[in-house]
């Protein structure tokens, strides 16, 4: 499966030869599966040895037992979310009818996969989780400073930060950043530290 920038996000294969052939496509940014994904049409290669469309990839897989290829795009809701492919060691193993059969398999597979995850899901999760962890870490560090400074519990430190955020109409992250910067008060609000 690929994200919208053609970067692989998930894959599965039945043989290490397949894995190698796929990895080469991503490394070289060319190959039948990327074309199938980009054009949303099945790609049939009768003989890799005489195939001229992806010269770098054909040259790179020359030592692998791959001569025939069918690659079918996985299309869900009109969007190509990846490609499904079969390799064969002998030339001329597949024909147009094989591609049509692959498409029959690809359609429900794509629907199923798109429900498990969209191609962007891992990226979205990691972005929002990363920012949540960053702010949590920052606020916890500010709590630690207040705990040490005033000999108070973690909860009391967090409550103190919350009161200050409310009093200065700042976010909890902003008041925490100020504590971390070693400034006792919000510089925009003069000398009042907003603490009770």
């Amino acid at each position: 499966m690929l994200d919208p920038h053609a970067r692989p996000v998930s894959s599965g294969s039945t043989d290490s030869v397949v894995e190698r052939a796929d990895a080469l496509q991503y490394e070289l940014v060319q190959g039948p599966c990327l074309t199938a994904w980009a054009t949303q049409e099945s790609i049939l290669i009768h003989d890799v040895a005489t195939e001229a469309r992806w010269p770098n990839w054909s040259a790179a897989v020359v030592d692998l037992p791959i001569r025939s290829v069918i690659s079918t795009p996985l299309i869900a809701d009109g969007q190509a979310i990846g490609a499904m492919k079969i390799y064969a060691a002998s030339p001329g193993a597949f024909e147009d009818a094989t591609a049509a059969l692959m498409e029959l398999f690809a359609s429900p597979a794509a629907t199923l996969l798109s429900h498990i995850q969209t191609a962007e899901t891992p990226e979205r999760i990691s972005d929002s989780l990363q920012s949540a962890l960053y702010s949590r870490d920052l606020i916890n560090r500010a709590c630690g400073i207040l705990m040490e400074r005033h000999t108070i519990t973690e909860d009391a430190a967090l409550q103190q930060l919350m009161r200050q955020a409310r009093a200065t109409r700042s976010t909890l992250m902003e008041v925490s950043a100020i504590v971390l910067a070693g400034v006792a008060s919000d510089p925009r609000r003069g000398s009042s530290d907003g603490l009770r």
């Binding site: 949590r136 967090l158 992250m173």
Partner: protein
């Protein structure tokens, strides 16, 4: 664990604020987690459903998460525990 009336009121108004701003429980929880919340998403969901009582600090953190999340919205804000119950009921809410 019992529910005092102010917890009930705090939960009800948090829910109203979330509905008005169309913020999902998942988004609220992630933000709440990001500002130091310690209760799991499942428990937050149960709290919003009125099935679970949460400590005051966690309730206030949820209110703060909601208010920071929809800072740009004109809708109702989520109250903190010291704005409810024993406080002065005639005190107007912050705009």
């Amino acid at each position: 664990m019992g529910f005092d009336s102010s917890e009930w009121e705090q939960r009800r108004r948090l829910q109203a604020a979330l509905a008005a701003a169309q913020v999902s429980t998942g988004d609220l929880w992630l933000y709440y987690f990001g500002i130091g919340g310690s209760v799991g998403e499942y428990e937050v969901e149960a709290y919003l459903q009125g099935l679970l009582s949460l400590p005051e600090l966690q309730r206030d953190l949820l209110a703060m998460a909601a208010n920071e999340l929809f800072n740009d919205h004109a809708g109702p804000r989520a109250p903190y525990s010291d704005e409810l119950g024993s406080g002065d009921p005639s005190r107007p809410e912050d705009p």
